[in-house]
Subunit: 193 residues, 2 copies
DNA sequence: AAGCTAGCGGAGGGTTCCCTCCGGATGCAA
DNA sequence: TTGCATCCGGAGGGAACCCTCCGCTAGCTT
C-alpha cells in the first residue's frame, strides 16, 4: 500500500500525529521569527534550535528552505485575507483604506519573505489570487461609488502600497503621512468632497 | 557635486599606483554586477574572480564586506546626484518629475544594497544628505510654484518613491502608471481643505 | 497493555565561504 | 638601468552551514 498518489497540493501538509503537529507548528513560528530577524538567509539550524526540535525534524517537514519559506508565507497571507471580512459594512472608501492599512502591516514584516518568493513560485501566484479576491471587491465598490479613480486596477494599488511599505520609516507618523499621500493619488481627479 | 575636497575617512581611499587603481576600479565594477545579480550575500571570492584579481587584492582594498558595499553604494549615489544638474531649466513640476524618474531607476537596481545599509551606517546618512541637496531644491521650487502640496516634506517624497520602486513590476508601463498615481498624490488638493 | 510504526534527535561528512599570510612580481623615481 | 616600496595572487586553516542517516522514543490502535 502506498500513500495516496502525489497530491497536486502545493501546500505542505500538516502531519497527523499530535507531537508531530506540535513540532510542525513551532517550526513555522520559529521560522517566522528567524526570517524576520535575519532575513531570508537565516540559518535553518537556528530555526530548529528556536523551535526546540532537532534539525532532522525540520528537514522531514520541510525538505528544502523554500518549503519552509512558503509555509510561513501562506500562513501570513491567510491571516491577511481573513481580516478583510467584516469590512463590507463600512462606507466604500473607508473599507478600502482600512484594509490597505492592514495590508501595510502585513507587507512591513514580510519584506524578506516576499523578496525571495517574488522571483517565481506557484505558491506566490496562488496567494496573489487569494489576496485579490479579498481586496478587489473593496476596490471595485469604491470605484462604483465614485470615490476612487477608475483608470487604475487593483493590482496597481497593491504594488503602490506594498512597495511604499517596503521602505523603512523612522516613525509610524511619517509612514501614515506618506500612505496618505499615496491614497490621495487614488481619488478621482476632481472629486469635491 | 556638493562635498568636494577630502571625503570622510569612512570612504575607502583609492590607491595611488596605476595597477592598483585599475584593480580597485574593476573590483567595484565587479561587485556592482555581483550584488545586482546575487543580492547582498554574493560571494566575495566570486567578486574577485569577476574582477580578474586575487582574493588577497580584494581584501587589501576592502577589509570587510561592508567596505566594498559602501564603495559601490557611494558610486551609485554620486551618479544619481550628478544627474540633477541641468534640470533647473525645466518648469518646476517637470523638473521634479524628471528627477524622480531617475531616482526610480537608481533605487530599482540598488534594492539589495540599500537593504543592507539601511540598518545603520555613517555612509548612508551622508549619502542621504547628498541626495537631499540634489533633489530638495527641485521640490521646494515646485511647492513655491504651487504645483506640489506643501504639507509634506522632501523626505516623504523620497520614501514614497523609493518604496514604490522596490516593488517588482511586470512591465515598465505598469510601473509608470503606478508612479503616476503616486505623483498625483503630490499635487495640491483640488479643493482647499 | 502491548505492539506497531510514525516520528524524533543530532552526529557527521561534504561543501562553501571567509580571511590571513608571505614569496614573488612590478610600477615608479632617481 | 637600477633599487625598492608597493602591490599581487592564491594556498590553506578555520568556521558556518547543509543535509543524510539511523538507532531510539513515544503516540495511537486494538
Amino acid at each position: 500500500m502506498t500513500s495516496a498518489g502525489q497530491a497536486p497540493e502545493v501546500f505542505a501538509q500538516r502531519p497527523k500525529r499530535a507531537d508531530a503537529r506540535r513540532n510542525y507548528d513551532s517550526l513555522i513560528a520559529a521560522a517566522r521569527e528567524a526570517f524576520a530577524e535575519n532575513g531570508a538567509a537565516a540559518s535553518l539550524e537556528d530555526v530548529a534550535r528556536r523551535a526546540g526540535v532537532g534539525i532532522g525534524t525540520l528537514y522531514r517537514n520541510f525538505p528544502t528552505r523554500r518549503h519552509l519559506f512558503e509555509a510561513v508565507y501562506v500562513e501570513e497571507v491567510r491571516e491577511l485575507c481573513h481580516s478583510a471580512e467584516g469590512l463590507a459594512e463600512l462606507p466604500p472608501w473607508d473599507a478600502l483604506v482600512a484594509w490597505l492599512h492592514r495590508f501595510v502591516a502585513y507587507v512591513a514584516t514580510k519584506r524578506a519573505l516576499a523578496e525571495q518568493l517574488l522571483r517565481d513560485s506557484e505558491i506566490f501566484t496562488s496567494c496573489r489570487t487569494e489576496i485579490f479576491s479579498a481586496g478587489e471587491p473593496l476596490m471595485r465598490r469604491a470605484q462604483a461609488a465614485g470615490v476612487v479613480r477608475d483608470d487604475i486596477g487593483f493590482d496597481d494599488v497593491v504594488r503602490l502600497i506594498s512597495g511604499l511599505t517596503m521602505a523603512q520609516f523612522p516613525s509610524p507618523e511619517q509612514r501614515d503621512r506618506v500612505l496618505g499621500v499615496a491614497l490621495d493619488g487614488l481619488r478621482p481627479p476632481a472629486t469635491p468632497r
